[in-house]
């Protein structure tokens, strides 16, 4: 079963504020198709102060839906409507010490019930602006509609683009097949053809014809030609050999170029050592345990290779490894 936090379990087994509130004057009914969950939130709002004096919930749903509902009522009691509207689904998830990625929509449902109830109190009509769909990227809890929307809005055409814009696929990379399928569909819709290696100078693809989907060829399904991994900037003959200092200078230059991007995300990278074709670095700040670290390193390696005009491998060193090495 799910790896629920103790707080989630506690709020599921002993939910707070169950049922409709006596003398309630605001109701929000919302549902999430993703889980078939549905939630009714009732509030008792003081008309003078607009403070939520009481909140109650009724939920048809799974463990985390019930826990999210319970958490929501606890968070908003005593808040003014304005303060309550500032509560995000992440706040609900944080209150519960986190939710599994597949269950983040339960917290979204909680926030939506709150918005619906406040709209109901104010005599407004609440419209849901959040579209739900299949969960594609488990690392960052990114659903299909967001990916599709972003591809369309920015005319994205590669898995790398999707990762850069939405973070989907930037973690463990298991969802790349699904992202490729979405890309193929979207590119076809705008009259283009999806090319797996596009935008990746390190991937040299053999020329091949893409089999037409309309006429099946079950006899001999043509397999995609294997992508040949060959660095574009392979060592060119006749080029003068760089000294170690020259190489380090060029490596530092590549790191410098990437640094502003990393620092914008509160991370950084530091050059530790260079041995033959291996470049040792230390990731610091937010980079340390970022799921995107692998991606960052690939980008860095690519940059360094372009600078040096030769193949190198960038290896991150952990704090422990550095200490063991006496650094």
């Amino acid at each position: 079963m799910w790896d629920y936090s103790e707080t989630v379990k506690e709020h599921f087994y002993n939910p707070r504020n169950v049922g409709a509130v006596e003398g309630g004057n605001a109701v929000g009914d919302v549902g999430s198709l993703t889980c078939g969950d549905a939630l009714r939130l009732t509030l008792k709002v003081n008309p003078e102060t607009e403070i939520i004096e009481d909140a109650g919930f009724q939920t048809f749903g799974c463990g985390s839906a019930i826990a999210s509902s319970s958490a929501l009522t606890e968070i908003i009691k005593g808040k003014t409507l304005e303060e309550a509207l500032a509560v995000s689904n992440q706040d609900i998830a944080d209150f519960l010490d986190g939710l599994p990625p597949e269950k983040m929509h339960c917290s979204v449902m909680g926030r939506e019930a709150l918005q619906a109830a406040i709209a109901n109190y104010r005599g407004e009509e609440w419209k849901d602006d959040h579209e739900e769909g299949a969960l594609i990227c488990k690392c960052f809890a990114i659903e299909e509609p967001l990916i599709v929307e972003t591809i369309r809005a920015n005319k994205l055409s590669t898995v790398q683009d999707v990762a850069n814009y939405t973070k989907a696929g930037a973690g463990c990379s298991s969802c790349h097949e699904k992202i490729e399928e979405i890309l193929a569909r979207e590119l076809e819709a705008r009259g283009e053809t999806f090319q797996p290696g596009a935008g990746r100078p390190d991937l040299v693809l053999e020329k091949r014809t893409v089999p037409k989907k309309s006429k099946p060829l079950p006899v001999k399904p043509s397999l995609p030609a294997a992508a040949v991994h060959a660095p574009a900037a392979a060592k060119k003959p006749g080029k003068p050999k760089l000294t170690l200092v020259q190489r380090i200078q060029k490596i530092e230059k590549a790191i410098e170029a990437l640094r502003p991007t990393l620092q914008a995300d509160r991370g950084d990278v530091e050059l530790i050592d260079v041995k033959d074709k291996t470049v040792f670095v230390r990731m610091t700040g937010a980079c340390t345990d970022c799921q995107m670290a692998g991606l960052t390193l690939n980008g860095l390696q690519q940059k360094i290779m372009e600078e040096l005009g030769e193949f190198v491998q960038v290896i991150p060193m952990s704090q422990r490894q550095l200490e063991e090495a006496g650094l």
């Binding site: 079963m1 379990k9 599921f12 087994y13 939910p15 169950v18 049922g19 009914d29 919302v30 549902g31 999430s32 198709l33 993703t34 889980c35 078939g36 969950d37 549905a38 939630l39 009714r40 919930f57 009724q58 939920t59 048809f60 749903g61 799974c62 463990g63 985390s64 839906a65 019930i66 599994p100 597949e102 269950k103 929509h105 979204v108 449902m109 939506e112 619906a116 609440w126 419209k127 849901d128 959040h130 579209e131 739900e132 769909g133 299949a134 969960l135 989907k213 006429k215 099946p216 060829l217 079950p218 006899v219 399904p221």
Partner: protein
């Protein structure tokens, strides 16, 4: 039963029988040889595998022991069967299956659909039954394979595969059945049928996980999924998972000996559980075809509450079951089996499957009957579809949430 828990999730997996474990252990230690080797270390393992093959043959009622191909699991057997059928008959591009198959079949078919194959997914009625007239009308020369499960994993509903295999045979079409849930629970005699291929999984019948088998009728045109060494007569390359295969053999023999117990003692326990639950709880009903199903399975839909919540509450009391709710799988919708049977949304999410084995006792069953009402009542108190004594009037109208 191990520990203090009550394990009623035997359609998910079963405990390894002590006799099975005991038979396996020497093959991790002194009997470590490669069965293909000529020397004494390998030779004895090879003989033990031959015995296991005969034990599985007996359980299935297969005519020859060479019709048994050991694999790594039910899923591998299913994939092998489908891919073999289309590869051996490239001129045929249609596959007939049902809407309620296991993902081991449906996902493969979905992929083949994308590759240009025609997939016919036969629908079911509200009790989960197929329309054989419709089936017959779809049998034509373009069909490479019919793949229909023997018994459904969620409801236990049994399909008339023997009759369907006859019909396919008459039309000159290959027939495969995913019998992962049926093997060991109902008597089989494949030699008297027209079934060409059958998948089974070890861990559903008290063998360990990671071993399965494909029954392949002699003469059936076949193309291996994995090529390599000559193991399994070249039909499934890769060094044999010797200990597990030997365990599967013992499990098959045990299942053969227990098939009557399964259909008397286990069936009676299941019936007692079902009757107890239905009479102690309101607004719940059995899904599938109660008159024609596996002896160990009972699937009950509890209306107006959600399955994962039920399972968590049961789990807290040491009771293990499973659910067709979307939440338990992390998928978008409730179980495709429930949807195919047109079970209403508010009930499909509350479907709970109890699946027994010969290791369950009456005491355990009575404990579940006694514990369940408080859980159901508690969750209904939380539900917006429920008033104090029963469902709100016109539940669908009284509570109409804005769906995202």
């Amino acid at each position: 039963m191990s520990g203090k828990g009550v394990y009623l999730d035997n359609n998910a997996t079963t405990q390894v029988a002590p006799e099975v474990l005991e038979a396996m252990l020497p093959y991790f230690t002194e009997q470590f040889g490669n069965p293909s080797s000529i020397h004494q270390f390998g030779n004895q393992v090879g003989r033990a595998i031959s015995k296991a093959r005969r034990q599985v043959q007996t359980l299935l009622g297969a005519e020859f022991d060479s019709e048994i191909v050991f694999t790594s699991c039910g899923t591998e057997s299913d994939s092998t069967a489908i891919h073999s059928a289309i590869k051996a008959q490239p001129e045929r591009t249609t596959i007939i299956t049902t809407a309620v198959e296991h993902p081991a079949i449906l996902s493969v078919c979905e992929q083949l659909d994308k590759d240009g194959y025609t997939i016919i997914r036969l629908g079911v009625d509200k009790k989960g039954r197929l329309d054989l007239d419709e089936y017959k009308s779809r049998l034509d020369d373009d069909v490479a394979l019919v793949s229909v499960m023997w018994a459904n994993n969620e409801t236990g509903t049994i399909f008339p595969v023997i009759e369907m295999a006859e019909m396919a045979h008459e039309a000159g079409i290959m027939f495969h059945t995913d019998a992962v849930q049926a093997v060991g629970k109902i008597p089989l005699d494949l030699k008297s049928t027209k079934i060409d291929m059958l998948s089974l999984s070890g861990h559903k019948l008290h063998a360990p996980k990671g071993v399965g088998a494909l029954y392949l009728r002699r003469g059936t045109r076949f193309r291996p999924l994995m090529r390599g060494g000559h193991q399994e007569r070249g039909r499934r390359a890769g060094t044999e998972n010797a200990a597990s295969i030997i365990g599967l053999g013992v499990a098959a023999e045990l299942a053969m000996n227990r098939i009557e117990e399964e259909n008397t003692k286990v069936r009676a326990l299941r019936d007692r559980l079902e009757k107890g639950i239905l009479s102690n709880n309101t607004h719940c009903f059995v899904t599938g075809d109660p008159d024609n199903r596996l002896p160990n399975t009972c699937n009950i839909a509890f209306e107006f509450i959600e399955g994962e919540a039920i399972l968590m509450m049961l789990n807290k009391r040491g009771i293990a079951a499973s659910s067709g709710s979307a939440c338990t799988s992390g998928s978008l919708e409730p179980s495709h089996v429930m949807r195919a049977m047109d079970i209403p949304f508010t009930a499909a999410h509350g479907t709970t499957r109890f699946s027994l084995s010969c290791y369950n006792t009456q005491e355990e069953v009575d404990r579940v009957i006694a514990e369940l009402p408080a859980i159901i009542q508690r969750l209904r108190e939380l539900s917006p579809y429920w008033a104090k004594e029963g469902p709100v009037e016109n539940p669908d109208k009284a509570f109409q949430p804005t769906y995202a």
